[in-house]
């Protein structure tokens, strides 16, 4: 089995061919989405989930910390954005800042409790904390509106210096989400190729050795958890705008499991771009299989089970294996079995 560490570091300018393809695809999406039978709202949703999934993969794929309660932070971001609009001021930047801050705080708090854990205990603790947040979202009626959620969250205008752009229609909101996504992905790709990303991978491979090599493992784990919660919060803020509401369902164990499924199906364990593939596969499955049968989750779940059994590296891992087979038709087979 291959892993992320088999991919060489790309230092310097982050505009690799894959990055260019990604940016071009994101930038041109509104022009071909409807031509292939999709709708522009889907674009927003996919952009938000890619942002969320890539932030999650810093924790899941790079640091090897298997959080099963990450839905909490996108939910907190969404609520913070909505509450800021309704109680403080109708402002895009303020709301997004509030979303990031709230999710960062929650993430930092949880990270303080879980950063010295590993493996399944880490997963169990993150589930427990995720459930606490989900439970609070349902029960704090006066703050969050209970099970109905916060309704009527506005889509504030984007104010950039003298520029004022309305984000009311899905088209302009997509451009905004895509812009945020593009910047975030550039930043993340820089980050994972920086020493920080390398240390995260060292922690995943052997935490004790990383500690003996002199790295402050606890602080690194704490930092990556908090960072990934902050990115989830940002995604949550945009999500609240897209949905014009915030509700507790996104914080449930089901949804937290869904993001893990997306990242794993796409191959987040073996590639920086894995989460993108995973999110695309999930939404295509939802819309295509969901259009044929109501039980699409059954088929997606079955596909997931089979994939964990046979190819846990996911779609990106499969692509990697195929590419290496094509490149070295004979030498590839033993190399691939070595792990």
């Amino acid at each position: 089995m291959i892993s992320l560490s088999d991919i060489p570091t790309k230092s310097g300018f982050p505009l690799t061919p894959a990055m260019c393809v990604f940016l071009v695809a994101v930038a041109s999406a509104p022009f071909w989405l409807e031509a292939v039978g999709l709708y522009s709202y889907l674009g927003i949703e996919v952009a938000i989930w890619i942002l969320y999934a890539m932030g999650f993969n810093l924790l899941f794929g790079y640091a090897g910390l298997h959080s099963f309660g990450h839905g909490a932070y996108i939910g907190i971001g969404a609520y913070a954005f909505g509450l800021f609009q309704q109680n403080v001021a109708v402002s895009l930047w303020g709301g997004l800042l509030a979303a990031i801050l709230a999710a960062t705080l929650a993430g930092a708090l949880v990270a303080t409790f879980v950063a010295h854990r590993r493996g399944i205990y880490f997963a169990l603790m993150t589930i427990a904390f995720g459930q606490v947040f989900w439970f609070c979202a349902i029960k704090l009626r006066w703050l969050t509106g209970g099970e109905d959620g916060l309704l009527g969250i506005p889509r504030p205008d984007m104010v950039l210096g003298p520029l004022r752009v309305s984000l009311q229609d899905n088209f302009s909101l997509y451009w905004f989400a895509a812009g945020v996504l593009g910047l975030a992905v550039l930043g993340m790709s820089r980050l994972v190729n920086a020493p920080f990303g390398r240390v995260l991978q060292a922690i995943r491979q052997n935490e004790m050795r990383a500690r003996f090599a002199g790295y402050d493992v606890w602080r690194m784990k704490w930092l990556v958890f908090t960072l990934s919660a902050a990115i989830a919060g940002l995604a949550g803020g945009i999500f609240a705008m897209a949905q014009e509401s915030a509700y507790p369902d996104i914080m449930s164990l089901h949804q937290s499991g869904t993001i893990v499924m997306m990242v794993l199906v796409g191959g987040g364990l073996v590639s920086f771009w894995g989460p993108v593939l995973g999110v695309l596969i999930y939404f295509v499955a939802r819309d295509v299989i969901g259009g044929v049968t109501e039980t699409w989750l059954l088929w997606f779940g079955l596909m997931f089970v089979v994939m964990v059994m046979l190819r846990p590296e996911g779609a990106a891992g499969l692509a990697h294996v195929i590419r290496s087979r094509l490149a070295r038709p004979k030498a590839a087979a033993p190399a691939e079995r070595s792990a």
Partner: protein, 306 residues
Amino acid sequence: MYDLIPHIVNGLTLGLLFALIALGFTLIVGVMEVINLAHGAFFALGAYFAVAVIGGSWFSGTEFGAWWLGLPLATRYVVALIFGPICAAIAGMVLELCLRPTYGKAPLYGLLLTFGAALVIEELIRVFWGTGEQSLTIPQTINGAFLLGGLIFSKYKFFAAAFAVLAIFLVWLLLERTPYGAIIKAGSHDSEMVRALGYDLSKLRLAVFAFGACLAGLAGITMAPIWGLRPHIGIDVVIPAFLIIVIGGVGSFWGAVAAAMLVGLSVGISGAYAPAWAMLSMYILLILVVGVRARGLLGRKSALEN
């Protein structure tokens, strides 16, 4: 204090039922080192099969169906009590076979696979039984309420608690007083050694998984009349179960029972003061216990920590 008695009784009943769910879970975790997120799905499957057996919906219209529905409810209930857990056990064996490729890999894969399986089983339940709420009818003798010291108690809760105590006792007997139990426990300490002694490890795993799923199915049938039956009950149930495992210490029999009673009591008593927040008390309990003692109340060092 006197007002609290019904809540304490409620809490103890709940704790015993939680213990029943958690025991199957901890057995599987102990021997297989797999966190089985599909445990709740087996719970649901057991209860749904019991509903099908009691209601006779599969063979309604046939001669056998008419004869079956003519039998007294108590007979049908007893048959369901046997049939439901067996179906859950079969599902458990299928899942164990699917899990085989993940052995020896990171424990994450077992967790993910069982999460996927839970999703699949839940959707299958929706397909076969519909999305609505189902109810499990129980015989007259254990239905209704009785008065004790001026307080009203539900008969069924006492039946369920007694049933849970019996089941827990039988599991204890199996684990502590039979050679099978010795092998199972040895398997959870050192599976390599068990294999070296000539026991078939894959058969042992299959049996343990079936047994754990069977216990979950039994708990499902016992719990369904109290909690109701919805397709997503599996997820609702698996969370308390594994909180209990973590609080009690992974793989520990008495740890699971003690933690289940503790959780049941804290939910019951906090329910007296703030009903809406009752379920939160178990999360707080978890954070308190695990914050102080990472391995849980009676846990020992486990391979899962790595």
